[in-house]
């Protein structure tokens, strides 16, 4: 009965989305305020129903209900509890249901919490949100029903891909989806504002927290996904420029640009049309990401199902939403009054440069990601990998870092070039000192530039606090400082990893040792281990550095359902880097392959990512507090 209840909840939610759209249209077009007033409650109930459907699907997975097709194909009764739970979205149908659930909940949250927008614009926004939801409900109900039954019921399931059997599965997809779907809210706000011709600072202030939330979650999702790939895939890399990774990076780039342009619109009433355009682009990137990942067009661990019909469905949705939004944009943009102007040397100027460079990087990543797909349709098979992305996007990313260092030190509207030079003297000095010092350990061109600029950016990012009363500095300024510092930290980690990593590949017998970086690693022995749904051969390694020695246990793990094996790496984290160990295959002479990496300061990459997200959270709290305070003040006046 649970499956039927879930399906019913899904149908009801879909019907409510249709109702929500119809009521929003009537409310606005006919000016019927009574109808418009009901849009909020309907949006809330729709979100609750979608969440109910998701909860029921999780329930089916936890119960290992083998009469449900999805559970049979993707689960197994002997799987640990956490992977039954998270396994609910470790497959195509379940992950699309999660997508819709978050979309519904986001719409509900907008309906409950958004009080600063004019009512008409809000109703139009919820109408746009319902349109998006409607497409995805149709997708689920007509081509990806997660609740389909299997008759007769199977004795047990086929199991979950072991690469996905990791705590990361519980965290990474929901975070990333919250980010993707959060951008749908920004998109709906933009559509709503276009419909009611209400593009201005008030709209930007209302939209900003939602963009920030989406951006924070995208940042966390990407950071978590990168670390997961790093320790799970056993290749010692943290970013592969895999199309699926690009699918999450592209919305992040667009959201980062949007975050900065929406600030110009909110503070200075500039960049109106551009901000609207970016909101459309950002959500397009989410949709393209969903299409790339869910259509099975790509070679990836994320491609659960290869079904051309599904790909075509998502592509059609993409075309309808983006095409519709662009048509609306073209029709209405003439009525959007031009915003205020500004000097090229000003904070706005810096933010425009930021937006342009981010757009260029976005364009490069997009071309590199789509090129193989386009080429394939002409019968040419090729792949585009790290050499392309590093060469094409790397230099522009470094230019962006330079802009990021200078931008926050500029005044709004107009600034004196001479005064600016004085303010950036210290960061430039830091860059030069680092650049000269690094000449002695020459790490290669890009890492050299990266490390030097990271030093300059670190100094520049805290410079906005210089000579300020730290108590009276608004919280969102701290947020910006922290986020920019996070970029510097992350960049330093990336550059250090690509420049100073040491790798050793050996075949050793028990008792023999290998050296990598500052460590000597000895293989003490190999022993079998039994886990909840796997067995493994586990190496006992002793890693010695000076007088310290630590035990490490990389595994060669075998899963029965489905029959697969994985290399479980073992990582030793020190203050100045990580020792990464992987156990390979044995050979006929009783030797075992060991692959060892010493990665100096590699942890800074993810630590920086967390700082960036924290910075976003600080800004969010700061903005919300300030708005509540000014609302209270307005009420008293």
């Amino acid at each position: 009965m649970i499956a039927e209840a879930g399906l019913a909840a899904l149908w009801l939610a879909g019907a409510l989305a249709a109702l929500q759209l119809a009521m929003a249209v009537i409310g606005i077009a006919r000016g019927r305020d009574d109808v418009a007033a009901a849009v909020r409650p309907v949006a809330i109930v729709q979100g609750v129903l979608a969440a109910l459907a998701m909860a029921l699907l999780i329930r089916l997975f936890l119960n290992s209900d083998m009469s449900v097709k999805l559970v049979v194909e993707n689960s197994h009764s002997a799987k640990p509890w956490l992977y039954k739970f998270a396994g609910a979205w470790g497959n195509h149908e379940g992950s699309m249901l999660l997508w819709v659930t978050i979309l519904g909940l986001a719409g509900g949250a907008v309906a409950i919490f958004e009080r600063s927008l004019p009512e008409r614009t809000l109703v139009a926004t919820l109408g746009a949100q319902a349109t998006i939801a409607l497409g995805f409900y149709a997708f689920l109900l007509f081509s990806s029903n997660p609740f389909a039954r299997l008759t007769p019921a199977a004795p047990d399931g086929l199991g979950l891909n072991p690469l996905l059997q990791d705590p990361g599965l519980a965290f990474h997809p929901p975070t990333l989806y919250t980010g993707y779907v959060g951008l749908s809210v920004a998109f709906s706000f933009a559509v709503g504002a276009l419909v009611t011709r209400d593009v201005g600072p008030g709209f930007a202030k209302a939209m900003r927290p939602w963009v920030l939330i989406a951006w924070i979650f995208l940042t966390l999702g990407i950071t978590a996904g990168s670390y997961w790939a790093y320790y799970e895939l056993g290749w010692g890399g943290w970013w592969f420029w895999d199309p699926v990774e690009n699918a999450s990076l592209m919305p992040w780039l667009a959201a980062t640009a949007l975050l900065h342009s929406v600030t110009v619109l909110a503070t200075r009433d500039g960049l109106r049309a551009w901000t609207i355009m970016l909101a459309v682009v950002a959500f397009s990137m989410s949709m393209i990401g969903t299409f790339l990942v869910r259509s099975g067009i790509l070679t990836s661990v994320h491609a659960f199902a290869v079904d051309p019909e599904r790909g075509a469905f998502i592509l059609a949705l993409l075309a309808i939403y983006i095409g519709g939004a662009l048509a609306l944009f073209a029709a209405r943009i003439g009525t959007v009054r031009a915003g205020t102007t500004f000097d090229p040397v000003s904070r706005e100027g810096g933010l425009v440069a930021n937006n342009l460079l981010l757009s260029v990087i976005l364009g490069i990543v997009l071309i590199g990601t789509l090129y193989p797909i386009v080429a394939a349709s002409f019968g040419v098979q090729l792949s585009v990998g790290p050499p392309f992305f590093n060469k094409a996007a790397g230099p522009i990313a470094l230019a962006l870092v330079a802009v990021m260092a200078v931008g926050p030190l500029l005044r709004w509207r107009r600034d004196e070039a001479k005064a600016v030079v004085g303010r950036v003297a210290l960061p430039i000095a830091a860059t030069v000192v680092a650049a000269v010092a690094l000449l002695f350990v020459w790490p290669g061109v890009l890492p050299w530039a990266g490390l030097s600029l990271a030093a300059g950016l670190a100094v520049a990012s805290v410079a906005p606090l210089w000579k300020r009363n730290l108590r009276r500095t608004p919280m969102f300024t701290y947020g910006m400082v922290l986020a920019h510092l996070g970029i510097a930290v992350s960049l330093a980690g990336m550059a250090s990893d690509s420049a100073f990593t040491r790798e050793t590949l050996v075949a050793v017998r028990a008792g023999e040792a290998a050296r990598v970086g500052p460590y000597s690693v000895t293989l003490d022995g190999i022993s079998p281990v039994i886990g909840e749904n796997w067995s493994a051969l586990e190496a006992q390694l002793t890693a010695t550095r000076g007088d310290d020695s630590t035990r490490l246990h990389p595994q060669l793990r075998f899963f029965a359902n489905p029959p697969t094996s994985t290399n479980e790496s073992a990582i030793l984290t020190a203050l100045d880097g990580q020792l990464y160990t992987v156990l390979g295959q044995p050979d006929a002479q009783g030797r075992w392959q060991l692959r060892l990496w010493w990665k100096p300061f590699v942890t800074l990459i993810w630590f920086g990512g967390v700082l960036i997200a924290l910075g976003g959270a600080l800004s969010l709290v700061g903005r919300l507090r300030r708005e509540r305070r000014s609302a209270v003040r307005a009420a008293w006046a």
């Binding site: 056993g234 031009a338 050979d587 030797r591």
Partner: protein, 148 residues
């Protein structure tokens, strides 16, 4: 500067930036895209020397040999019509086995060998890289190995 002019300037700047990005990307793509080859492509068109490419096919039965150092592997990739010898130093993926599909990333040597820097095997038993499924259909002598 009037607001209208500023908007125009910004729009032109944005357009310029996108065009530059496109040109940069396309020129870099020319050098950096790595093409996919099957052994019979190489036999027909000659060796693509001096660039990173991908070689795909089946690992020939009985061809996997490990060198004395314990970390170098020699094997032959076949697509049913031709074969290419491959050398790889590293830990082979868990799903790498004889009579199963593989995609090797690396470079051809003038003597016809392929030196792989990375091997991609099927991600799981259900899955086969689309490039490979395509190549398999072309030769029509080997059925795609669908596993369990």
């Amino acid at each position: 500067m009037k607001a209208k002019h500023q908007r125009l300037t910004l729009a032109l700047l944005a357009l310029g930036a996108v065009v530059v990005a496109g040109l940069l990307a396309l020129s870099a793509l020319k050098d950096q895209a790595s093409f996919f080859y099957a052994p019979s492509d190489v036999k027909r068109d000659g060796l693509p020397l001096g660039r990173a490419v991908r070689l795909g096919g089946m690992v020939a039965d009985g061809s996997v040999k490990r060198a004395a150092d314990g970390v170098t592997v020699h094997f032959t990739v076949t697509d049913g019509a031709a074969t290419t010898p491959v050398v790889f130093a590293g830990i082979v993926p868990n799903l790498f086995r004889e009579k199963s599909g593989v995609v090797a990333e690396g470079q051809f040597q003038p003597d016809g060998r392929f030196v792989a820097s990375n091997l991609l095997a099927k991600h799981d038993e259900k899955y086969m890289p689309p490039e490979m499924a395509g190549k398999m259909h072309e030769t029509k002598t080997l059925a795609p190995d669908r596993g369990s």
